[in-house]
């Protein structure tokens, strides 16, 4: 048994603004199948957090059950993490977010975890607009339980054993837009150039940011006839635009005649080029039409799909305290009998 990751790293690794190298954003060595798309997404998440100079201890990773939900063990080893029961990540995320609004919440889920057992939870997290990144590693199957079709498997997609899926797929991207998510994107595990800037923008987005990442399962769903295999996805992929994330204070150098720049809430920007015909990421209707058109043509539309940079997340809606509960002092948490009586009085 010789499966151990050496501790040596490249001697000239660059440092980010807070003096960390990529090593500080790594997790344990993955135990997923070799070649799993999920691992590539883990790498992209770590890279995005490194590039954004997020302090690892300011991040909380949340997940459910599945190979995808295991991945938080394989990135951001210095961050907080909560592995919930199957499909229940949104509830734990809601509680954590309400208790401590200062952390950056990164939810990782699977298509089974979100579109089947956790569907009821998933839709309410969107409806409530938690300020979090919600990333689904979408392989069209239940990887951890040996590859049964999931609810995102396309109608007509063939399983490794040869059976054809007779049901229509739930499209999590369309669904989240319908439910009012203000940041919606789709990507592919094999396209880090697109995925990393999308993750960075999602982190910067002040409300619920949803990314559906198609992530081939090499062991159970990478066969000929599957619509979630590496080959099929590469052949059918179509991008809304190229995406570039530009941090705050950095000058935008490229010219973007056929493009668009979207300023994010904190002043950083998304620079989009080669825009898909008729599509405007800030116009929900055009985004829905683009999605439907792609679907009709059998294309997989990736990239940023829809964004509304000015959104009111749950804390703003509820006007809760700015201070995380764990550092609220007793005198504020427990204002005394007079305050209680005044409250009761106001309700009479």
């Amino acid at each position: 048994m010789t499966y151990v990751r050496p501790t040596f790293r490249h001697p000239d690794l660059p440092k980010n603004n807070i003096n960390f190298t990529k090593k500080d954003y790594e997790g344990a060595l993955s135990t997923l199948c070799a070649g799993c798309g999920h691992d590539s997404i883990s790498g992209a998440i770590a890279q995005a957090c490194f590039e954004l100079s997020v302090e690892p201890h300011r991040i909380a990773k949340l997940s459910g059950i599945g190979c995808s939900s295991k991945t938080p063990a394989y990135f951001l080893g210095n961050s907080h993490g909560f592995n919930t029961v199957h499909g229940r990540m949104p509830s734990v995320a809601t509680g954590a977010y309400l208790a401590n609004r200062d952390l950056l919440y990164f939810g990782v889920s699977g298509d089974g975890d979100s579109a089947s057992i956790g569907m009821g939870q998933f839709v309410h997290a969107i409806r409530r607009n938690l300020n979090m990144v919600y990333l689904v590693m979408n392989n069209g199957c239940y990887g951890l339980t040996k590859g049964q079709d999931s609810a995102t498997a396309d109608n007509g997609s063939k399983s490794k054993a040869g059976s054809v899926n007779p049901f229509n797929a739930i499209d999590l991207v369309g669904l989240s837009m319908e439910l009012g998510a203000t940041f919606v994107a789709r990507s592919f595990s094999g396209d880090k150039a697109q995925l990393i800037p999308l993750i960075k923008a999602a982190i910067k987005h002040p409300g619920f940011a949803f990314i559906d990442v198609i992530s081939p399962c090499v062991t159970f769903n990478n066969n000929v006839g599957s619509t979630k295999s590496y080959d099929y996805v590469r052949e059918h992929i179509e991008a809304t635009s190229t995406v570039d994330f530009v941090p705050i204070m950095e000058e935008i150098t490229a010219d973007y005649e056929d493009g668009k720049e979207i300023t994010l809430h904190d002043g950083s920007a998304l620079q989009l080029q080669k825009l898909h015909q008729g599509w405007n990421p800030e116009d929900k209707l055009s985004a829905m039409i683009a999605l439907q058109n792609a679907k009709d043509k059998g294309e997989i539309l990736t990239g940023l799909v829809y964004i509304d940079p000015n959104t009111n997340a749950l804390h703003d809606v509820l006007q809760t305290t700015q201070t995380p509960l764990n550092i609220l002092k007793e005198d504020i948490l427990c204002p005394g009998i007079d305050a209680l009586e005044a409250l009761n009085e106001s309700l009479r």
């Binding site: 990751r5 040596f8 790293r9 070799a34 070649g35 691992d39 790498g43």
Partner: protein, 597 residues
């Protein structure tokens, strides 16, 4: 970039930094693994095949492999390659049955070797098994050349040297010791088919024109002559106060030897700044450890004698100034001259070649520095029968260079004696074999250990300074040798990429601990190096570039620079597009004949 041609044996050879840097191209990781497996005899023979004197070199090699070692780029210090060689030599079993057999019937060719240093002995070893009748001539009483006359016994015990020299002389070599060759012409007249000249660079430089030199004569010695006279026991003591002039390894041997022959206040005085001295860092450390101060930036002005007896020397103090081109000049500081007392002065400021015994009408061209013109690949001179090697060929270097040149010259002599062209050199022997045993299992220790380089223990100073023959270094014991061996990254276990298997899942790129692997669009080398996962600053390290990949039209680019050869890329690849394969490379020696191993 064009796809890398991995069928060129030099491509993978270059990845094995240590072996590539070794003048004799010793398969270093191969013998290090054998040491880890406690196969000391086999490890010794892998060395013996390439460098002929593993016991000697395991103690004294200049070790050009170590600054090149990949481990030194990811860790504080390289693998102790040289001292591991000694572990093999110290612990080996009987090797007599492994030595080459000499054919009963010779091939009828007679070769004369002049000088019995490492260069000549290598030629002898390579040619004797082919049936050549070898005659070796040396003015000394025994073989070994400067390994015997110069390298002091406290660094290289005589028994170790004798054993390795005799292993060669016992291959039926005709020995003519105590025989100074005073005429090359007469050797040629004896009808040898070829003559090899391995006479070294025997003349030490002196400061003949420095004021006071003649008056102090009785107490001033040229370093290498003095060391030889100590080695052959003509000189047994020296004064209490000794100045050693010079900053090279000879100076270090002179000062340390002086400490053992009665020198109490021994000082090394050198013109250049300390950091620019030619001596190896470890030699300087060992000298300082023996309480020998090194005074730098002191230029000799005169020897001072009183009543015919040497009293000391005066020096001018200087400092180094560099012009825009980085050229150094030593500029006086203006301080008063320094006087340093001395009973003896040893002048160790360099050696030169000296060929008074080669007649200049034999067709051997000499240049204006009186150096023979020698082909640096074939080692043939302008007289086709006469070959040079070692310090005699291209000026003073070291033992391992002498050995490497001996191998090349032997190949040339063999080709020459068969009437073949010397320019068609035999190809190296190479072999590439997968190391995969199963899932997570490789036939080499792929785990990278975190140990720092182990320090070689030394005998106590009070003991070693009393006896010039007491070896200072004790060598690693077996356990420490094992741990040091485990520091080796197995750079010969190559990452072999097969593009048509790759599905571009990125797994290898993500898992690689040192960010060696990048999938990107192709470009020129200069451009690609700016777009890799990690900075690609060491341009001497190659990029492995794949053919265009089917799915995306990109290429796979691997920077070989800091690959740990951990095999994780191959572990994580779902399609075995990566495989770990052992690359064995051995330069072909004359005794291999047509190139089979």
């Amino acid at each position: 970039m064009e796809p890398t041609n991995v069928h060129d044996p030099e491509y993978y050879h270059k990845v094995v930094d240590c072996q590539y840097a070794c003048p004799a191209h010793t398969p270093v990781p191969e013998y290090i693994r054998l040491i880890a497996a406690e196969k000391y005899t086999e490890a010794y023979m892998v060395n013996w095949e390439s460098n002929v004197f593993p016991g000697v070199l395991g103690r004294t090699c200049d070790r050009p492999c170590e600054p090149a070692c990949r481990r030194g780029r990811v860790d504080e210090e390289p693998v102790a390659i040289c001292r591991l060689k000694r572990v093999a030599a110290d612990n080996k079993g009987d090797i007599t049955h492994l030595l080459p057999k000499i054919p009963i019937k010779g091939n009828g060719k007679r070769i004369a070797l002049i000088g019995a240093g490492p260069a000549s002995l290598t030629v002898a070893r390579d040619l004797a098994p082919l049936g050549y009748e070898i005659h070796v001539f040396d003015e000394q009483i025994k073989g070994g050349g400067m390994m015997r006359s110069q390298i002091p016994s406290f660094r290289l015990p005589e028994s170790v040297l004798d054993e390795e020299v005799n292993n060669i002389l016992n291959l039926g070599i005709h020995q003519h010791f105590k025989t100074y060759v005073s005429s090359l012409n007469s050797v040629l007249d004896d009808g040898y088919d070829a003559v090899f000249i391995g006479t070294g660079a025997p003349r030490g430089r002196d400061l003949s024109n420095l004021p006071g030199r003649a008056e102090g004569q009785a107490n001033i010695h040229v370093g290498i002559e003095w060391l030889a006279s100590v080695a052959f026991e003509h000189t047994k003591q020296i004064g209490k106060k000794v100045i050693v002039l010079g900053g090279g390894n000879t100076a270090m041997d002179c000062c340390r030897t002086s400490r053992r022959l009665g020198g109490e206040e021994v000082k090394v005085v050198v013109r250049s700044p300390f950091s620019e001295m030619r001596a190896s860092p470890w030699e300087k450390e060992d000298a300082q450890h023996e309480d020998i101060p090194i005074l730098d930036n002191h230029v000799p002005v005169s020897f001072v004698s009183e009543n015919g007896k040497l009293k000391g020397m005066t020096f001018e103090k200087v400092h180094a100034v560099y012009d825009e081109k980085g050229k150094r000049s030593l500029v006086p500081t203006g301080e008063p001259h320094a006087f340093i007392e001395a009973d003896n002065v040893l002048v160790a400021i360099g050696q030169e070649n000296y060929f008074p015994w080669i007649e200049r009408d034999l067709g051997i061209e000499f240049d204006k520095w009186e150096m023979p013109s020698v082909n640096s690949l074939t080692f043939q001179s302008t007289n086709e029968k006469v070959f040079f090697g070692g310090d005699a060929a291209l000026g003073p270097k070291n033992v391992i260079t002498a050995v490497a040149q001996g191998h090349s010259a032997a190949v040339s002599i063999d080709l020459y004696c068969q009437g073949k062209s010397l320019d068609v050199r035999p190809n190296p022997f190479t072999n590439l074999v997968s190391q995969k045993m199963g899932i997570h299992e490789w036939s080499y220790d792929s785990i990278v250990t975190n140990d720092d380089r182990f320090v070689v223990p030394q005998a106590e100073k009070v003991l070693t300074l009393k006896d010039r023959k007491k070896e200072v270094e004790l060598g690693f014991d077996k356990l420490v040798g094992f741990k040091e061996a485990e520091r080796c990254l197995n750079c010969d276990i190559q990452t072999v990429f097969t593009e048509n298997r790759c599905i571009e899942c990125d797994a290898c790129m993500d898992v690689c601990p040192t960010d060696c692997i990048t999938f990107t669009t192709n470009g020129t080398e200069e451009d690609l190096r700016t777009r890799l996962m990690a900075p690609s600053l060491r341009l001497a390290q190659d990029l492995l570039v794949s053919d265009t990949l089917a799915a995306t039209g990109r290429v796979m680019v691997k920077d070989e620079d800091v690959c740990l050869h951990c095999g994780l890329c191959a572990e994580r690849c779902p399609t075995s597009a990566w495989d770990m394969q052992k690359f064995f490379y051995n330069t072909t020696k004359a005794h291999h004949g047509c190139g089979q191993h």
